[in-house]
């Protein structure tokens, strides 16, 4: 990839769905999704979310990833200039390929969630060797 300068972008707000108990805004994390022969991998940016504040919920084919952010300001601090807003993250997906629900790996590091969803055996591509008779 060519050297490129990053552009500032405001986070997309999550569409409201029912009422939330925690006050504040909710954002959609930016995600990369890719498929390997064995798994479906999701990488989501959730800055400000600690590893123990991430929830990954998979029911049938419905996947929900969410994270709670820590307070943006310390005790006794006042905001002088605010360019970005902070809030929790939530995003939902409908998974197309068949996922092995027992084999899901989630790693949270530096505000980036990496989710590896292993495919079930029969969803994996298989090459069938043709024998010469």
């Amino acid at each position: 990839m060519a050297e490129k300068e990053l552009q500032a972008k405001a986070k997309a707000e999550a569409p409201a769905k029912g009422e939330r108990v925690r006050p504040g805004r909710v954002f959609l994390p930016a995600v990369d999704i890719f498929e390997t022969p064995e798994a479906l991998v999701m990488v989501a940016d959730m800055p400000g979310v600690a590893a123990d504040k991430v929830t990954v919920d998979l029911r049938d084919n419905h996947l929900v990833i969410s994270g709670e952010v820590a307070a943006p300001l310390g005790q006794g601090e006042t905001m002088v200039d605010q360019e970005y807003f902070t809030g929790d993250f939530i995003r939902e997906f409908q998974l197309g390929s068949l996922i092995n629900q027992a084999k899901i790996e989630a790693v949270m590091k530096d505000g980036v969630l990496r989710l590896v969803l292993a495919k079930v055996e029969r969803a994996k591509p298989r090459k069938i060797a043709v024998k010469a008779a």
Partner: protein, 151 residues
């Protein structure tokens, strides 16, 4: 600096005046000030929040996945220069992308600080994808309580 705005003459057609104004604005946005767009032009990434308390000024930015060694912070007089790179490691295997929303690249930002700071008393931490820079205010700009003496 070229003159951008001029008083319209009393006899001029207002529509024509508007057209001229548009041309001038176009020139302005094309760099009509004679300043070349340099590759090191200061950008606006990352977005930062600035806050303060009695003794410190805090600068925070959301930089998920950016490692401490890819960041460079410089204090110069009243400004803070933030430089770095956000890297997204390439996947080792041949993969099939379905969605790509996360972006990688370089950034450089210069921020004017609300007050002078002590350049030797700066702490920067990167935690959960948030960069937090804590800058100590010098003694003379800190708020001070003055006791009223009873005469």
């Amino acid at each position: 600096m070229p003159i951008i705005f001029r008083e319209p003459g009393p006899t001029q057609d207002p529509l024509r005046e508007l057209e001229q104004l548009q041309h001038r604005m176009d020139r302005l946005f094309q760099g009509g000030f004679g300043v070349e767009r340099s590759p090191w032009q200061v950008g606006v990434y990352p977005l930062v929040n600035l806050s303060e308390d009695r003794d410190h000024v805090y600068v925070r930015a959301e930089l998920p996945g950016v490692k401490a060694e890819d960041l460079e912070i410089t204090i110069q007089d009243n400004s803070l220069i933030l430089r770095g790179e956000r890297k997204i490691a390439a996947e080792e295997k041949q993969v099939n992308y379905q969605r790509r929303e996360r972006e990688s690249g370089f950034f450089r930002r210069v921020l004017a600080l609300p007050s002078r700071v002590q350049p030797d008393k700066v702490e920067a931490t990167c935690k959960d994808g948030i960069l937090a820079i804590k800058l100590a205010k010098p003694e003379e700009v800190k708020p001070r309580k003055i006791k009223v003496k009873v005469a």
